[in-house]
Amino acid sequence: MDRPIRVLVGKPGLDGHDRGAKVIARALRDAGMEVIYTGLRLTPEQIVQAAIQEDVDVVALSVLSGAHNHLLPKVVELLKAENAYDEILVIGGGVIPEEDIPFLKEKGIQEIFTPGTPTTVTIDFIKENLKRV
């Protein structure tokens, strides 16, 4: 691999719970990835813009407010509109009920990590599923 994996960790929507996002961001960084953490209250548009600008390989989104079914597919949709989805892996995490996961995967979020997932599982998933060659 010629360069480290670049990940954007984002908090879409109005949700302020950022402990999980920050823990993941630090764990990915400790695993040798380059992490851009966006902070709170970003619109899907802002996230997609940042992802393209920063030329990331992964967009990792954390939602604990229950708005995941609206916000996560929106990010994928916008990435597709920018022709960036083919190169960027999109994953999500947070308080997301089991029954919503098939819907989110169908919408193009490759994996959803729910509470209690070790950070190593997420790290391995990213390494194994990168779209960039």
Binding site: G13, D15, H17, R19, R26, R41, S65, A67, G116, P118
Partner: protein, 559 residues
Amino acid sequence: MFEKEKLQELKKNQTDWNDNKVEKSLQRFPERKDEFVTGSNQEVDRLYTPTYLEEFDYDQDLGFPGEYPFTRGVQPTMYRGKFWTMRQYAGFATAEESNKRYKYLLEQGQTGLSVAFDLPTQIGYDSDHALSEGEVGKVGVAIDSLKDMEILFDGIPLDKVSTSMTINAPASVLLAMYIAVAEKQGVSSQELRGTIQNDILKEYIARGTYIFPTEPSMRLITDIFEYCSEEVPGWNTISISGYHIREAGSTAVQEVAFTLADGIAYVEAAIKAGLDVDKFAPRLSFFFNAHNDLLEEVAKYRAARRLWAKIMKERFGAKNPKSMQLKFHTQTGGSTLTAQQPDNNIVRVAIQTLAAVLGGTQSLHTNSKDEALALPTEKSVRVALRTQQIVAHESGVAETVDPLAGSYYVESLTNNIEKEAMEYIKKIDDLGGAAEAIDKGFMQKEIMDSAYEYQKQIENGERIVVGMNKFQVKEEPNEGLLKVDPAVGEMQKEKINQLKAERNNEQVEASLSALKDAAKGNKNLMPYILDAVKAYATLGEICGVLREVFGEYQQNVIL
């Protein structure tokens, strides 16, 4: 407390015991690990004896309940008089739905209400704002105008219940709506009892629902202190919150330290605004978390009470004992709940309930077992409420005041937490106070370091969370979780359209423009906000005017 000679003898005996008995025992039965620590990584020794409390002075360190320094509790008889207020935080979807849940909870024996608002309401956006999409009614009830508030409290007599509202940046608007609803019920604001959270500093640190920059936010808060001291004297004007700081990953010590540092900042701001400390300080209240390390948590509440009493007396020269009393609400720890084997959470909540009660809380919310998965169902909320009722009526811990006082371990922990929290407060003072320290990202970074450390301990197995990193089973699918109807957003939009067509729009305009002028000057804003609310200006319109004048807070992103 202990005689010098006796202590010397005891020290010697303890050394003997250690050298002979313990060493021998360790050879045959080694201890489970080399180092024992509390839930927040404070070191725990094998055995606590009076030698840990050499300087202990009953009068100075503990005193009697209801007397300075209030270590043993703020009331003389505590739960022998009446139990703590059982107050379940609730609210979702529309005002109509939430009103039903409140009536159910009151029927089940709950003694106070606690309102959860959705994120758009907490951030001052109406349900029809672009940023509200997908969020309306999700984590709480959607309130766009006085109309919604009238429905929320329909049939609930506001002179009989006390109501706590988890609202911060737009606290003055929601308080004004509450006062207006009471007025329509024929209840004077003088009779109202309740609490608004109104704690913006911890929003910057840990919770995230800020709107305005620090300075105008502090002004809105002190305006409320001033207004309520005359008009709503039974209202707790702020709930200075460690809860979210702890949820964000802090230790117990950091929870106490950062909360009291925020408290100091509010007291300083109010004094600077010209208010008399003994006039507003009795209405300050606090809000803490309850995690699983039972004895550490009990010590935490006792240490916080003692430390605050000293701060108010010594630093701020308060004279009224009520100004020195740290009264607090507790919520059990959301972040301690597991999505795995959710039934186990009932047990965790029971331990946390014991901690809060043994620590002398004034009111308590117990989390429901399904909250790591979704909002709680009616059935799981009932179990959570029953947990409090069992501790109150069956466990016996409420029959005497501060039953753990005098435990060598608990007193020693109490001393340690107070000492370490004080060190943090000194550091924050050196940085220029809480607001400055937040701007510099000091608390945020300290909390994040603790959170990451905790996560690593779980992943390397140093810390066991039952059902999550040990004793796992194949999980059954969770059924019957509460789902908020996605149509709520549309319903609220419809309500706003109707409101705007029906209300007197000239009156709305006039009240908003008066508010804008007042915001540019330095008059107390509460009467202007009340006028706008009564004219049925929406929350988004009112906050929009204030956004124009005050601007918005820019988060300092700290990783």
